[in-house]
Symmetry: C2
Subunit: 207 residues, 2 copies
């Protein structure tokens, strides 16, 4: 019971928490909330079933935390793009790149998970509203970059929030479809951003 030990315990607890969250993110997004058993999560994290409830109140509790994590990460990503030392176009290119980078499927899974959450009946309405609010934060961040780009002359006119929504819709729609087909489209940042740029390259799709 020395301070030293308490600290160690806390470290272990934090580490286990993170492991369970990671496992849950992976499994929820692959199989959906209802189809994922608590024992799936614990076995993936190499813990016993019973121990789960020392770390989370319930399966639903963990679910909501995972959704929040995803959105938090995305908001941070947009913030990182905003703070980059480049033009607005460069920022959008970077953001689009990293969204599609790594294991492509991971991004897809996360996106689907958020959508599922919005339509799930395992989550109460206030929490859903919170999710929508956080998503809108991300949209606003992107809208801000687009606004910059408009002033630089790179991007087409129009309400930045609306353009941001269009951009996200296209990017995510492509992500979802791409992850499923055997021969993915050669998804290029240029093509996704094409809809935003002012017309100088109408033949771009042929590249």
């Amino acid at each position: 019971m020395t301070p030293k030990n308490e600290e160690q315990f806390k470290d272990i607890r934090d580490q286990r928490q993170q492991e369970l969250r990671r496992s849950a993110l992976k499994l929820f997004s692959q199989k959906g909330y209802a189809a994922t058993k608590v024992s799936d999560i614990t076995s993936n994290a190499k813990l016993s079933h019973g121990l789960f409830y020392h770390y989370f109140e319930s399966k639903e509790d963990l679910y909501v935390k995972v959704i929040r994590d995803i959105l938090q990460d995305f908001i941070k990503l947009v913030a990182a793009a905003t703070e980059r030392n480049s033009t607005a176009l460069g920022k959008m290119e970077w953001l689009t790149d990293v969204t599609h980078a790594g294991s492509i499927r991971e991004g897809v899974y996360r996106h689907i998970l958020v959508l599922q959450a919005l339509y799930s009946d395992h989550i109460n309405e206030p929490t859903k509203s919170e999710i929508v609010t956080r998503y809108k934060e991300a949209v606003s961040g992107i809208a801000h970059i687009i606004h910059e780009g408009q002033q630089e002359g790179y991007f087409i006119d129009g309400d930045p929030e609306e353009l941001a929504t269009y951009h996200l819709s296209l990017a995510h729609g492509l992500l979802i479809w791409n992850a499923r087909t055997d021969r993915p489209l050669a998804l290029s940042t240029d093509k996704v951003l094409r809809q935003l740029k002012v017309n100088t390259d109408k033949g771009l799709m042929n590249e």
Copy 2:
């Protein structure tokens, strides 16, 4: 046991089948497969729980049939657009309109349901492949219209299949997002088709 009676029985059976399919479509897409109970489906169709198994082998059996129904409907819709007596642009406008028409949420739910099916572990791999194949049929139909539009000079250059995928991704992404937000974007056919048209209206988004 007269022929007359047999016919009546068949009619009743068909009608119940359809009712159950409709209920299932609604519930699966709103709540997901796992979260939808067989009793939910039957009570929505105003039948008893036990009777369900006179019409379908299992819950999973019905699930696959519902997914097939959705895709079949969509393929028919694309075919109907193709056969319309208008320019390719007119066909795409019509298709986009009807996709977003009616109860908007209905379209969203269907789309999400197909996506969920592709990632579900309640469906075996051959069936998933079949789903992808059917989806590609629809994409090919749209690609055909786009090809027409390119020759008419309405649409930008590029691989039609790829453009069709982009179009669907954007349309569905918007649909999903729009259904959730309280104040939906005034989703206009023009805006969705903007990415396909040759550049003559870069300020369209401001309308």
